[in-house]
């Protein structure tokens, strides 16, 4: 059996603490569940550090630890909590190399989840970190991608915002881009929308549409690969960036970069621009396979 994302994170964390002698900070890490089973059962002596409930200060503690060169991991259990956890990280750690020549690398594990968790905790919050020089954003959804993200971080000296999604933890498969000759449309999905984009593609295929899927692992820096540009230019009706953040952020910024460097329109589809409630009737979820398929058809048949 191939390893799942959950097991991959757990093994990397164990390696990071026990072999690299680093630390992993976070709230309620050692409580029941060990953050969705992604943490090894280690305690403070091993570097697994329970911090206080003071989220802003906690971000500062991790920055201080990073200044001492230990490359800490920081677990933020819901991305929405970044509003309180991010300030000192984005303002100090991200700038430290430029102002003082002192790198301050931190592996920020920022975990997304949606569905019945209300107005603050859910979805991805990429744009918070995206605006600040000195940060990199990567959203691994497979075991190999997570391994790659960790290795990149270890040979780099920037702050890494690792945008995770709880729904990916059971995944043990890898994604591959699907690029077809004469495709009608290209999807550029981010984070959890990558799973649903694949399902949407099957729905659309059954209805006679040919859809490319180009998976987006890196959110920042965004590099528009030649192969992707060609695929987009060859797509009859352009493309669409999918995200589980509001469209008015990373998705729009990536779509903009693609458009100025291609001949096609690139649309965005993410959360609706409204606050999520708890009940299913008022929740605000990333687009489902059916909704993605409908949106694509609407664009194609315009």
């Amino acid at each position: 059996m191939a390893k799942t994302v959950r097991e991959t994170i757990k093994d990397l964390t164990r390696h990071h603490l026990l072999e690299k002698k680093s630390m992993c900070f976070g709230q309620c890490l050692t409580a029941v569940g060990w953050v969705g089973g992604t943490l090894p059962e280690l305690y403070e002596d091993d570097g697994m550090v329970e911090v206080t409930t003071a989220d802003v200060a906690n971000g500062g503690f991790v920055v201080g630890a990073a200044l001492k060169g230990i490359r800490p991991i920081y677990v933020v259990r819901y991305q929405g909590f970044q509003w309180y956890n991010a300030p000192i990280i984005v303002n100090y750690a991200c700038k430290s190399k430029e102002i003082w020549g002192i790198p301050c690398p931190i592996f920020v594990r920022s975990i997304a989840m949606e569905g019945a968790i209300g107005p603050v905790a859910g979805s991805s919050h990429h744009s918070l970190f995206q605006r600040m020089p000195g940060s990199k954003i990567i959203s691994p959804m497979t075991p190999n991608e997570y391994d790659f993200a960790y290795k990149e971080f270890m040979r780099d000296d920037d702050v890494y915002y690792v945008s995770e999604h709880r729904r990916s933890y059971d995944n043990n498969k890898e994604f591959e881009n699907i690029i077809e000759n004469g495709a009608d449309f290209t999807l550029f999905p981010i984070s959890i929308t990558r799973f649903d984009a694949e399902k949407a593609r099957i729905i659309l295929k059954e209805q006679g549409y040919s859809i490319n899927i180009i998976h987006q692992l890196w959110i920042k820096p965004f590099v528009f690969k030649n192969e992707w540009r060609e695929a987009l230019n060859q797509s009859k009706h352009g493309g669409m960036v999918l995200d589980d953040d509001y469209e008015e952020g990373a998705a729009s910024s990536i779509a903009h970069s693609m458009m100025i460097d291609s001949e096609k329109k690139v649309y965005t589809y993410g959360l609706e621009h409204r606050t999520a409630g708890f009940h299913p009737d008022v929740d605000n979820l990333p687009p489902s396979p059916e909704l993605i398929a409908d949106r694509v058809k609407t664009i194609i048949n315009k």
Binding site: G60, A65, N91
Partner: protein
């Protein structure tokens, strides 16, 4: 045996002369960004650094925006500070830090990014990771930031070898403490089980309270008097000036030290300006 008070005065004298001369440079508009002068408050860093050199240790130091005296007292290079104020790559913060965000790698002085008080949680985190002596300087206003208070609490919980120094000039820009709060930092810290004292910036008194520094978390709320405006060159009128008091106390020897430092700073400026 060195005379502790005299050694502190020598450091304070360098700081005071640096700030007095910088005051003139700011008035002459040689420097056009906000400059946070620490004159009037120099005995705090001068005393603590003297105690640290006696202990023969080199702690990590997290400074606040008004940090020239801290930088100089703990051995930061005067030439690199001048270069920094002139925006040069050879400055102590690569010409990026101006006055507020200075640092000195050789002396373990970490720069401040301009968000008041975040040096407190950062210093606590660094101390937690290193378990080595750490000093955090913070203003009486910045100390009110929620993240400062919770960081002091965590340092207590983890029993870290850390010294918090609240440079209490009673002012947040021009807003007095009594307008902002009805509580005192040393009381709050005490409530968090941190040994805390509210004292003056008299070097002998500060020294007395540093006896067991780094054996446990310690907070000193040190009352002091800012000589110049919050930023830029100007004064709020005649106030108590410890430097004048100490100068008087040391008489001719004090005057000679003062003159020596004045020339040292003038020479440094001349040297750096001619380098252009």
């Amino acid at each position: 045996m060195k005379d502790f008070r005299l050694e502190v005065f020598k450091k304070a004298s360098l700081c005071r002369n640096f700030e007095n001369i910088l005051y003139e440079k700011v008035q002459e508009k040689l420097i056009k960004f906000p400059v946070y002068l620490s004159a009037g408050q120099e005995f705090i860093a001068a005393t603590i650094s003297e105690k640290i050199s006696e202990l023969n240790i080199s702690p990590d130091i997290f400074i606040q925006h008004r940090g020239h005296s801290t930088y100089l007292s703990f051995g930061g290079s005067i030439d690199e500070l001048i270069d920094e104020l002139l925006g040069r790559k050879t400055g102590c913060a690569l010409g990026m830090g101006g006055s507020a965000s200075i640092q000195c790698k050789k002396k373990n002085i970490y720069g401040h990014d301009g968000l008041m008080g975040n040096q407190v949680p950062i210093g606590v985190g660094a101390c937690f990771a290193s378990k080595c002596p750490t000093i955090v300087f913070v203003g009486d206003s910045a100390a009110e930031e929620d993240y400062c208070l919770s960081a002091i609490g965590w340092a207590s919980t983890k029993n870290l070898p850390i010294l918090f120094v609240v440079e209490d000039n009673n002012l947040s820009i021009l807003t007095e403490k009594k307008v902002r709060r009805n509580w005192e930092m040393h009381d709050v810290a005490k409530g968090m089980q941190v040994k805390s004292f509210n004292i003056s910036d008299d070097p002998l008194i500060i020294n007395k309270h540093l006896q067991n520094v780094f054996d446990f978390p310690l907070l000193l709320n040190i009352n002091t008097v800012r000589k110049f405006w919050h930023a830029g060159a100007g004064t709020d009128g005649e106030n108590f000036d410890r430097y004048e008091e100490e100068l008087k106390y040391f008489g001719d020897e004090g005057n000679a030290i003062d003159k020596y430092n004045k020339n040292l700073v003038l020479d440094a400026w001349q040297r750096q300006l001619e380098k252009q």
